[in-house]
Every structure is written in C-alpha cells, then in structure tokens.
C-alpha cells in the first residue's frame, strides 16, 4: 500500500519536472513540438499513471488548441481513467480557444473558467490576452482572473499586490479567498501549523492587504445594491404608472372607479400569452423572438375592446355614482378572474424573447436587466404619448374639456358620451399594455391584477385627480418607496408603512398632490 503512494508521489514529481522541461523547448524550438506531442498523446493513452500525468502537463503547457479534435476523439473512445486524465486538458484548451473568440461573452466566461482552474499556465495565457483585449468587461474579467490566480501564489509580495488590486477592482468573486487570507482566526478550517503562533511580517502584510481589499469591496457592494434597489423601484413604478394613468384618466373624466382595471391588465397578460402560443404553433421558430412586438398591440387592443364592451354594457348606466360602479366593477373583476382560472388554469408563464434577456452592465456589480429597462422605456413612451394626445390634439382637447365641465362641453357640441367611451377603452388598453409588460418580469396568473390594484388606487388618491403630473409623481413615489422599504422593513411592513404615510399625507393635502385650481365646492 505504502509503496503505491510512493510511486504516485514520484510520478507527480516527475510530471512536474517534465512540465518545466517541456516548457523550455517549446519556447526555443518549435520544430521539436510535434514529436513531443505525439509522445504525450501516446503516454496519455497508456496505463502508467506517472506517464499519463506527465503527458497531461506537457499538453497543457504546450497549449496547442489544434489538438482539440484529436483529444475529443480519444476521450470518446477511452476508458474512465483516460477520460478523467483528459478532462482538465480539454477544459483548459477549450477555455484558451474561447479566450480568442469573437464573442465578448465567450471571452468573458473563458477568463472566469481559467481562473477557476488555478492552473499556472492559465495565468500565462490570461496575461498574454490582456494587452490586446478591447472590450471593457472582458478586460475586467481577465484582470480579476489573473489576480485571483495570483492570490494563490507562493510569494507574499505577489499575493499582497493581487489582493489590493482585487480591492481596486471591487471584485465580489474574490471575497471568499480574501477572507481566508485576511485572518486565519476567521477560517477555522485551516490546520494550526506549528509556526502559526506568530505570523511572519510578510504574512501580516498579505493579511492587511486582504482586509483592506475586503473593506473596499464591501463598501462598493452596498452602493451597488442601493443602485439596484433604486432601479427595481423605478421599474415597479413604471408598471404602476401604466396602471394608474388609465385609472386616473377614467376617474378624472367620468368619476368612475374601475375595480376591474387590474383584470384588464390580466387580460393583456393573457393576450401576450396567447400570441406567444400562436407563434409557437403556426409560425417558424425563427420568428418566435418577434412575437412580443405583436403581443403589445394585441394586448392593448384586447383590453381596450373589452373596456369598450364593459363601458357600453355596464359603466354607462352608472355615471356619477362612483360607489355603485366600484361594486359593479368589482363583480366584473370576480367573474373575469374566475373565468381566466377556468380557461387557462392557475399558472402559465411567458418566455421573454431572447433580445430582452440579459442585461446592460453599468459598472462592476450593477447589471440592469433589459426586460426592466424595456418596461421603463415603454412607460416613458406611453407617458409622452398621452401628453401628446391630451395636449396637442383635438381629441385631447375634447377630453380635457369634458373633464373640466361636462355640461358646458355638451353645450358646445362635444359628444361627451363618445369621449367617455373611447377614453374608457383607451385607459383599459393602457392597463392591457401594462399586463403585457408585466409578463416579462413575472408569471401570468388569474389573480395578477389584484396585486396591483390597491397600489394603483393609492397612486390615484395620492396624485390627485385630473393632473397627469400628480399620477406620475405619486407612482414614482409609491413604487420607489415600496422597493426602498422592502430590504429594511420587509415587503409587508413596507406596504403598511406606505398606507400610514398616505393617510398622513392626505391630512396635509386632502385632494392629492396636484389638483385643478378653482373655487369649486368639493362635490
């Protein structure tokens, strides 16, 4: 038994020596390479563990990517021990090839993979790749990988330098390794060696550098998480805004509280789902990614048409009776939810198109997902569109006129009934669009709208009726606060806290943030 261990140890040693030896001729005499590689390949296939090990080292050191197909073939045919031996070679070589790939994403992942192997050759390759690299984030990854590898070096000076460089890079991945370096006391896994009673000055230096780096990284990460929270807050606000805009316009114009507004959102989400299924079923897969472009108008129209229907069949009988509309539309929402549950089942989800997956790397540790960016952009476009519609077109003029004084508008031959119907449909369509956007960040379920309806009513109440600016400010405020309070209070208490805030706010401004000025007595 003992003998065998000796052999293994010897083999490893030999391998090491062979690796070092093999490096020199590779640099000086490339012509000698093929023979050596052939020999290594032969050795790899052989039975002798020592020879195999040496062969692995040779192959890695040579780093010849052309061998990949041959190695693959060998691996496919070979037995288990051969496969085990070949795997590290293959992985390293693959990563090396990928390091020169055209796609930045590939280069980046290759750099990360190389750091994970901890192989000294990886360091050589990475350092070779660094000067020619153009992409900022690949450079970042390569540098991080280099320093992570160096962190395991023997020389304390190199270690310390790598640690402080990692600190400068704000590398979140380095934190575990740095923590191990920073304090042996914090890592109980380390066996107390005989001489660890007092640390050598070099070691102390390394530990200090590591500790400093950790502090830097952690300060940075608290900043980045704040930024991400802020971003999530804005994207939540955007959905709320799309919902609340429709609600506010409808309420402002008709004095109608539409409790089924959330269900229009649900309808929009299901319209998106159906569009997706339609693309899956009838169109070639290559077009699948574009379904979302069609889904947006579809969901707008589906919700809008349903809004028109609801207005014609129910709402029009209830003008000026907000409490009654509230109850009736609540009934509509119950029916719609249960209907969706019967038709679609409890949980369906939409696959986001590939052009919306991934995200934009803003800085180290901050990635803005494209789908949330898209939602924000959508909301912004909608707000601009509504502004344009309301304040720059004849239709908008009529809507505003009816909003201000219904009777007078009617006297001036504005078809108030038509204005009502179309505005209601438009507001519903906006909710449908919000539902479409929501599929990008969540599941599609029958109760979808219920999660947002109370919040969006709070937005309407806080923002005041009749002014879009109020709705925008209030939805940004409430959505932002929601996300802001979540980490410290928890989602639940955050919501309760917001309710309290809204009630207190209404003490100060009973009719919301912005109101139409005038001397009217509240009706």
């Amino acid at each position: 038994m003992k003998k065998m261990w000796w052999i293994v140890a010897l083999a490893v040693l030999c391998g090491g020596v062979a690796g070092v030896r093999a490096e020199e001729p590779a640099l000086t005499a490339p012509s000698a390479a093929p023979a050596m590689i052939e020999e290594a390949l032969k050795g790899l296939a052989g039975e002798d563990a020592a020879v195999q090990e040496a062969a692995v080292q040779t192959l890695i050191t040579r780093g010849d990517a052309d061998l990949l197909p041959r190695l693959e073939a060998m691996r496919a045919e070979g037995d288990r021990s051969l496969r085990m031996a070949i795997k590290p070679v293959l992985d390293l070589l693959k990563s090396k090839t990928k390091l020169t790939s055209r796609k930045a994403e590939d280069r980046r992942s290759a750099a990360a993979d190389l750091a994970a192997t901890g192989n000294p050759m990886a360091l050589v390759w990475l350092e070779a790749a660094l000067p020619t690299e153009q992409d900022r984030w690949v450079r970042y990854q390569i540098e991080e990988s280099i320093n992570l590898t160096k962190l395991a070096a023997d020389d304390p000076a190199v270690k310390a330098a790598a640690a402080s460089r990692l600190g400068e890079l704000h590398s979140q991945n380095a934190v575990p390794a740095l923590k191990e370096l920073a304090g042996p006391s914090t890592s109980p896994g380390q066996a107390p060696a005989a001489d660890s009673g007092e640390r050598s000055p070099e070691q102390a230096l390394v530990a200090k550098a590591a500790a400093e780096a950790i502090e830097r990284i952690e300060t940075w990460s608290s900043w980045t998480s704040a930024i991400e929270t802020f971003f999530r807050g804005i994207s939540l606000s955007s959905v709320l805004l799309l919902m609340a805009l429709g609600l506010a316009i409808i309420f402002g114009l008709m004095g109608v509280i539409n409790m089924a507004h959330g269900e229009f959102m649900m309808l929009g989400a299901y319209a998106t789902f159906l569009t997706q299924e339609g693309f899956k079923a009838w169109l070639p897969p290559g077009l699948f990614d574009y379904y979302f472009l069609l889904a947006m108008p579809c969901s707008f129209l589906a919700a809008g048409l349903f809004g028109l229907l609801l207005e014609a069949s129910l709402i029009r009988f209830l003008y000026g009776r907000p409490l009654e509309t509230l109850l009736a539309t609540w009934g509509v929402s119950l029916i719609l939810i249960q209907g969706a549950r019967v038709v679609f089942g409890d949980l369906t989800s939409v696959v986001a198109p590939s052009w919306l997956s991934g995200g934009m790397q803003l800085m180290v540790g901050v990635q803005l997902p494209y789908n949330r960016l898209f939602i924000i952009a959508l909301a912004a476009v909608c707000v601009l569109g509504i502004y344009f519609l309301l304040f720059r077109t004849g239709v908008g003029l009529r809507v505003r006129a009816v909003m201000q004084n219904r009777n007078m508008s009617a006297c001036l031959a504005i078809p108030t009934r038509k204005v009502d119907a179309y505005t209601f449909a438009f507001g519903s369509g906006l909710a449908g669009l919000a539902g479409c956007a929501l599929t990008l960040i969540g599941n599609v379920e029958p109760g979808l709208g219920q999660n947002y309806i109370v919040d969006s009513f709070m937005v309407v109440v806080t923002g005041g009726v009749g002014k879009l600016a109020g709705t925008i400010v209030a939805s940004l405020g409430i959505g932002g606060l929601n996300k802001l309070l979540e980490p410290s209070f928890g989602a639940v208490y955050g919501k309760v806290f917001i309710l309290v805030l809204v009630i207190l706010f209404l003490q100060w401004r009973p009719s919301g943030l912005f109101t139409i000025k005038g001397r009217h007595v509240e009706s």
Binding site: G320, E522, S523
Partner: protein, 385 residues
C-alpha cells in the same frame, strides 16, 4: 325629500310586530326544534344547521353596522373585515390560551408558537388569558382602532371613493400583517383547534345552542340600538349627510363628528360579530378579514336592501345561505355567482330585496311612511368635477 319622511314614525307598529315574530322564531322555535323532535323527524333542525344559522346571524350583526354607515350615512367602507377580524382574533386568542396543555404539543403555549419556536408568551397575548378582558377587548380594540383611523380620515375630509379606497388598503394591510408569522397571530393558518369557551366544551351541542341563543340576543340588541340611532336626531343628521354633506356643513353641523360616531359604532358591531363568530365556527384566519371578504360584506347589505335594517339582516343571512349551498355543490361557480350578484344588485335592484318586495306590494308600502327616509337619493350627483 318629502317632509313626512323626516319625522315618519308610522308603520312602527307593523315593524315592531314583525321584530317580535322573527325574534320568537329565531330565539325559541329553532332551538326547540333542535332539541325536541327526534333526528328523523322532518321538523328537526340539526346541530349543524343551527350552528350555521348562528354564524349567519353573527354576520347579520356586522351587516347592521355596515348598513348604518353605508345605507344611512352614505360612506362605503371596504375595511370592515378588519374590525370583524380584530374582534374575532381577540376571542380566538383567549380560546387559544384556554386550550392550555390539551394542545398537540402539550405546551401551555399555543401550538403555532411551538412550531415557530416562540419560547415565551408575547406580552400582548397576556391580557387574553382572562375571558372577560378578552370579551371587552373584542369590542374595544376595533372601536379604538376605528376611532383613530376614522378621526384621521374624516378630519382631512377623505370622502366618497377616496374613503373606500383607503379602507380597502387598510384591509389589505391588515391581511398582510395577520398573515405574517412573526406577528404571533398564527400566520396563514390563523387560530383554530379551540376546546373551551368560558369553561364550556365547544364540541358539545349544548354549548353551541347557547352560543346561538346569545347571538340572537345580541342581534336583537344591535337591531334595537341601530333603530334607536336612526330614529334619533343623530340619525336624521346621518341621512342628511348621505344626501348632501355640503348642506349639513353649511347648516352648522360638523359632519366629521357624526361620521366618526357612526364609523365607530359600526366598527364596534363588527367586532361584536367577530367575537360571536369565532366560538361558533371554531377558526379564524387572515383569509376571513382581507379585501375580498370585506367587500363581500358590503354586498350582503346591498342585496338585502341598504338603508333598511331588516334588509341588512336579510341580506347577510340570504347571501351566506346561498354561499354555503353553492360552494357545497358547485364550488367553481360561486365566484361567478357572487360577481353576477354585485352587478345585478347595482344595475337592476339598487334597493335590494326589500326594495323589490316594496315595489311588488306597491300599495301596501306607500302607506308606510318611514320609507322615504330609507331610500337613497334618487338623483345622481353630477359627475363633472
């Protein structure tokens, strides 16, 4: 509004007669039918049915309060589930504690606390070991809570839909908070597995029968209280607020105070209803106090006929009866039915069943004067702002 409606007092004899008749049936006849005939007799009222009716009548107490604030004062509260829940949880907590070591884990602490590894009884649970304190809390906690909430809301003149939305947000928040485990209120599973109440075993039919009778008594009391309020001067002001708050304000009254008063009374009634509900049903969970149950309570009143106390009671019993029949046989259909009820009641019979009955028996009802008072303002308010 016609003048006779303001001081309409006739028709009271008829009302009084039916009050005593219904009271007699509920209080004497039903329990007797439960006890006397054999189980196979067609007249026999099973323990289950009696218990079910007890539950409905507890709801009816809440409906009376809701009618007071919505039907008479015109304030639509979508948060009455919260007050109901506060009353129910107060009694539930007491019954939780009175389980003692009979619980599954044999600990003096309620079971869910053992699961959640709470070692010591939280401070706010301690008063609830006393039965009378709990009963007091079941009324007082919702009252005080409503007083604070109502004060803030009415002071800043939050009214109409705004008030409805704020109270709905309140129901949502309460639901969220009661659902949490760390608030030590049993989380999603709520409070259940009760054994005794005031020392009586809840599993015994006799206890349930007594609870039923107590509920009927309280319902009768609540009815008389509401009637007294409505017939009083205050009641007239309340109706005036419903019809034109501006005019009331300009006549020198302070609508905020009246609204606060009626809000607090109805919250207290809701708390009482919750307190009577829990021992009869044996469970209270956050699902019974959220947004949906709160708005469902409104529909009881609407279906029965808002602005009439009889209607509120009728609606609460009727809708819940329908619910328990429908959910038993076609659970999938109930939401459709409920939704349809919301729409139908608003569109086709805004005065509810009572209004419908009156329309059918036109001649008879026109002689009853008090009705004008009960009808909501027919002319719609201008929608323009």
């Amino acid at each position: 509004m016609k003048e006779e409606s303001i001081n309409g007092d006739s028709g009271m004899r008829g009302e009084g007669f039916s009050f005593w008749l219904v009271g007699f049936v509920l209080l004497i006849v039903l329990p007797l039918l439960n006890v006397l005939p054999g189980t196979d007799s067609p007249l026999h009222v099973s323990d289950f049915t009696l218990n079910l009716f007890g539950k409905f009548l507890a709801f009816a107490i809440l409906a009376l309060g809701l009618d007071l604030i919505w039907g008479y004062t015109g304030i639509l509260s979508l948060g009455h589930g919260v007050f109901f829940g506060l009353g129910a949880y107060a009694i539930g907590m007491h019954m939780m504690l009175s389980i003692g070591t009979e619980s599954v884990y044999g600990s003096a602490l309620p079971d869910f606390m053992v699961w959640n590894q709470v070692k010591e009884l939280p401070l706010f649970w301690k008063p609830f070991s006393s039965a009378w304190l709990s009963v007091a809390a079941a009324i007082l906690v919702p009252t005080i809570f409503a007083a604070i909430f109502g004060f803030l809301a009415f002071r800043s003149r939050i009214k109409g839909v705004y008030f409805s939305i704020i109270t709905q947000a309140l129901a949502l928040s309460a639901w969220l908070v009661f659902n949490r485990n760390e608030t030590n209120l049993g989380g999603t599973n709520g409070l259940t597995d009760f054994k005794t109440f005031f020392g009586f075993r809840l599993s015994e039919p006799g206890t349930q029968r007594t609870l039923y009778v107590v509920t009927v008594f309280f319902l009768g009391g609540a009815y008389l209280l509401c009637r007294w309020i409505i017939k009083s001067r205050t009641g007239k002001v309340l109706v005036a607020i419903r019809d034109s708050e501006q005019r009331v304000l300009f006549s020198g009254y302070s609508p905020a105070n009246y609204k606060l008063f009626v809000f607090v009374v109805s919250a207290a009634l809701a708390g009482l209803a919750g307190a009577l509900y829990v021992p009869q049903v044996g469970i209270i969970t956050p699902a019974q106090i959220g947004v949906l149950p709160s708005i469902e309570m409104v529909i009881w009143v609407a279906v029965g006929g808002r602005g009439t106390l009889v209607g509120a009671v009728l609606g609460a019993v009727g809708v819940n009866l329908g619910r328990s029949i429908l959910t038993n046989h076609f659970p999938e259909l109930w939401p459709f039915f409920l939704g349809g009820l919301f729409i139908a009641v608003v569109l086709f019979f805004p005065d509810g069943c009572v209004g419908l009955l009156r329309k059918l028996g036109g001649g008879w009802s026109s002689r009853k004067a008090g009705e004008g008072l009960d009808k909501p303002l027919a002319t719609s308010e201008p929608g323009s702002r």
